[in-house]
Amino acid sequence: MIKSCSANKFDVFATFQDLCIDASVCCGGDEPLKIWHRAIQGIDLRGKRQVSVPRDSKRMMALQEELHSHLPSEAALRVKALESLLVEKGIVDSATVDRWIDAFGDEVGPKNGARVVARAWTDPAFKQRLMDNASEAITELGCPRLEANHLIVVENLPQLHNVVVCTLCSCYPWGVLGAPPTWYKSFEYRSRVVRDPRGVLREFGLDFGEDVEVRVWDSTAQIRYLVLPERPAGTEGFDEEQLAALVSRDAMVGTAKVAPPTGGG
């Protein structure tokens, strides 16, 4: 399957691209190749899906109408029928569906981002690499790069607070934060945080004075944003693991601060 690694990398990945959401694959140096070789070894990737059908908006709008008018309203039933159907047709393997759920349940989640933040707080050289090229830096810590291939870290400072949204859908840095929380995908958050960020942040318990600049990052492209929160007071002498345990998912989206340690710390 892997023809050559020295030819044009787009040709090299002509097969791998069938694994990806898009026909667009990392070609940034040799390291991704190594990761890919390691992960893909022994996997049979036979069979390419050729999908050359019209991708027309008016047609899709009409199909959506038609589908909605014929299918039952109960989502759980429809999803169950869809999975059975796709399995029977050889389009989906249920074991793969299970595997994805395992991955997002156990392996990919905000713990990854918390490790990145804790490392940045304790290792200035890492922090510099993170600010320069976050996608490379998170790979050092073993974070996956799905939906984090073009990651930018924005740093909170005493006079600057960053918060992230996707107003058009629900883009989110999966590799460092896992799947997005419900509120992040809600119409309320998507519509309001670009227009009244201070009001929305107050609903999360954050109230900033006029001397603090609030920056909202709307993830309209494949660039993904991770907020580097401020390290709380009272954590001098904490090691990385202790620090990571303090970092919440919301703090890395920008709807929370990292609270100082409570109790004995």
Partner: protein, 218 residues
């Protein structure tokens, strides 16, 4: 597309409810829908821009009244129906009446870690010179095609400042509809009070990632 999905700045939505997430469970249709999409789109020639656009083509009332992963269902059946891989009758019953050709093998579970590790890169080599540089003043065009676009309505017509050039990236407007083309992509910062008349802070900013074709010099 001037759809209801383009929500930035819309009035009428209330307070954000920061409900805790329910953990993903294999018996839960939300989780299965999420994973079904990752399992069928990955090995295919479908792409994320078409996938996003298929959801945008839902009627506004349906979009607003469907919960999040139900919208995934609708976009996926739209894509599969459009490709001729499933019929309405089959979707009703869950029983196949025909087996489509050229669908290849389904994605195997062993491939999941590889996809996770690698991700998807939408950057492309530059094929020209970027028109703008950090610090340049730019105006977002009134670009409102019926098809896919990632220029949000609230930024249209407004002047901002280029913060960063992210290099060349695949343009969703054409890629969604089957033609891969790349353009320089910029992070453009807009002063919030210039976007929204009610904003009083003189310093707050909204940053939007915009392709070169969405912009003109200001």
């Amino acid at each position: 597309m001037d759809g209801v999905h383009d929500m930035g700045g819309m009035h009428g939505f209330g307070a954000v409810d920061p409900v805790p997430n329910r953990p993903l469970s294999k018996n839960d249709w939300h989780a299965r829908m999420f994973a079904i999409e990752l399992s069928y789109t990955q090995p295919g020639g479908f792409n994320v821009d078409w996938t996003r656009h298929a959801m945008e083509c839902m009627a506004p009332a349906a979009y607003l009244s469907s919960e999040y992963f139900d919208r995934w269902y609708w976009r996926d059946v739209g894509i599969l129906f459009n490709a001729g891989w499933v019929s309405i009758e089959e979707l009703k019953t869950g029983q196949a009446l025909s087996i489509p050709e050229n669908v290849g093998d389904p994605l195997r579970p062993e491939a999941v870690p590889a996809i996770l590790e690698q991700g998807v890169d939408t950057s492309r080599p530059a094929t020209g010179t970027a028109a703008f540089k950090p610090g340049d003043r730019v105006r977002a065009r009134f670009h409102a095609p019926l098809g896919a676009t990632r220029l949000p309505r609230y930024a249209r017509g407004h002047v901002g400042t280029v913060e960063t050039c992210h290099g060349w990236h695949v343009l969703p407007d054409t890629n969604a509809h089957g033609e891969e083309r790349a353009e320089p992509l910029y992070s453009v910062g807009f002063l919030a009070h210039q976007l929204w008349e009610e904003v009083t802070s003189p310093i707050d900013k909204i940053f939007v990632d915009l392709w070169e074709g969405y912009l003109e010099p200001a």
